[in-house]
């Protein structure tokens, strides 16, 4: 293999590039990134970066020394717009093409937006540019912030805005945020954090639209056009808003693959080893639907590239990558950590602490075995069970940990 193109210059793309070199690929390595920025870490954007605790230089995922060692050609600020049917040519939005023998698809996902044009003051939070714009909009005095969506991005953004002194309301269409992910008992425990942080949480009510007003004299730096003034709810209420943050999930960036022969269904379909229907094309990170599962987890993006690159270089699937799902969230001074494969109906057992105290470790159990765990501010006991769950998956009978290991 002489040339490999990594399409996507974020976490999964960078880890794939590292793996290519670590696994002995010494050919031409091209990395294409839509954003103009060198690879940066997204999780702090809604947390320390938004509150100003962490500056931009803390976001860098790499450093000049490593960049030099990688010996890659970086095409940043250029979107890939196509992959030919044989998967041998990546077409770029600026008209250029990259011919290659191998392709790593790592184009990630984009923040889902509300339909229609967004007036000024309405934000999503996915990219560094998004975070810069939101940060700039939160300057000067107490503002009324409405966060649409109570998932992790929404909750973290609400928490950060509250810590900056703003008046914050979170609107969640479901009866509870994170209900499908955590189940009712623990979703409720996490939802209580909003109240403790001084943030209003409205649940079970959808958003029907935004209210806006035209402006006579926009602020310096702002374009003309209307600015948001409120969020209209399905029950008829209108929440006054100076700033609106839309946190309603992400959609995988697969549009550029329309002309390829790759199968796309809410992600690029690939086998358990991240190999697509073309053996020299693999997909990793948020954009990959590996063995039927698309996980938007930081640790999936860092774990998948090892197997994906090995399979890419071998030309066939030698290794599967099915890391134990793990995610975390920092909000209202609490750290939430989840690991495992919970299924609807699993029994919840609090094994340490209590939700009332805001500090606990809970197991999800099925047929006497632990399927997943959730912790609030209990990092060490959580790590113990997370490691047990990961170890259990590598045993001949995967998927569960014997309940007795919970001797925490």
């Amino acid at each position: 293999m002489r040339t490999v193109t990594v399409v996507g210059a974020s976490l999964a793309g960078l880890y794939a590039a590292r793996e290519l070199r670590a696994q002995g690929f010494d050919g031409r390595l091209v990395i294409v990134g839509e954003e103009p920025h060198a690879p940066y870490d997204r999780p702090p954007l809604s947390k320390d970066f938004l509150t100003g605790r962490a500056a931009e230089d803390r976001l860098a995922l790499s450093d000049p020394e490593e960049t030099r060692e990688l010996g890659a050609e970086w095409l940043l600020g250029v979107r890939a717009r196509g992959l030919d049917a044989r998967g041998r040519t990546v077409e770029l939005a600026d008209g250029g093409t990259v011919r290659c023998d191998g392709v790593v698809i790592a184009t990630g996902a984009s923040a889902r937006r509300l339909p229609g044009p967004a007036p000024a003051g309405v934000h999503t939070l996915r990219t560094l540019d998004d975070a810069r714009a939101l940060r700039a909009d939160l300057h000067g005095g107490r503002q009324r912030v409405v966060v649409i969506g109570g998932g992790f991005i929404g909750a973290e953004t609400a928490s950060s805005c509250a810590s900056l002194g703003h008046d914050v309301t979170v609107v969640e269409a479901a009866p509870l945020p994170l209900l499908p992910q955590l189940g009712p008992e623990l979703a409720r425990a996490c939802a209580q954090l909003h109240e403790r942080g001084g943030v209003r949480l409205l649940t079970g009510v959808g958003v029907t639209g935004l209210r806006e007003a035209s402006r006579v004299g926009p602020e310096p730096g702002e374009g003309p056009g209307p600015r948001v003034t409120g969020v209209a709810l399905a029950d008829g209420r209108v929440l006054p808003a100076d700033v609106v943050v839309v946190g309603i999930g992400a959609v995988p960036n697969t549009g550029w693959l329309a002309g390829s022969t790759l199968a796309v269904r809410d992600g690029v379909l690939c086998d358990g080893g991240c190999v697509t229907s073309l053996p020299q094309v693999v997909a990793v990170g948020d954009v990959a639907r590996a063995d039927g599962v698309r996980a938007e987890h930081w640790t999936s993006a860092t774990a998948q590239p090892r197997a994906a690159v090995r399979n890419l270089l071998a030309g066939r699937t030698l290794e599967h990558a099915r890391p134990l799902p793990y995610f975390w969230s920092d909000q209202y001074g609490c750290r939430i950590q989840y690991a495992g494969r919970r299924r609807a109906g699993d029994t919840v057992r609090i094994v340490s602490g209590s939700p009332q105290d805001g500090r606990f470790l809970a197991h999800y159990e099925r047929d006497g075995t632990v399927t997943a765990a959730l912790a609030l501010d209990m990092p060490r006991p959580f790590t113990r069970i997370r490691r047990e769950l990961a170890r259990a998956e590598t045993r001949p009978t995967p998927g569960a940990v014997v309940g007795a290991v919970g001797a925490i």
């Binding site: 590292r18 320390d48 962490a54 950590q337 990092p379 060490r380 790590t383």
Partner: protein, 106 residues
Amino acid sequence: MIPVCRLEDLPVGESVRIDTVPPIAVFRTEGELYAIDDTCTHQDASLSEGWLEGCLVECPLHEASFDLRTGQPTCLPARRPVRTHRVTVDDGVIHVHPAASADSAA
């Protein structure tokens, strides 16, 4: 020199965080005491809450791992070392001697 706790109050396999600026984590492994900067160099996480295995501590957030003897990261995502600090036991009390400056590990 900062007193931490009595030796018997820090069992083998345990760690304690001391609220210096920046905070320091003290670990007791089989037969040895180590002190390193508590905050992971990758992101804001307390290594005193990490997973101790031999002379390595794994960050509780992203599984970055550091060698307690040298402060060097042994795997990604951390790329920069944490500072190490000298530890002594005087009259049964653990003491940490913080390294001179915050950038001495660079």
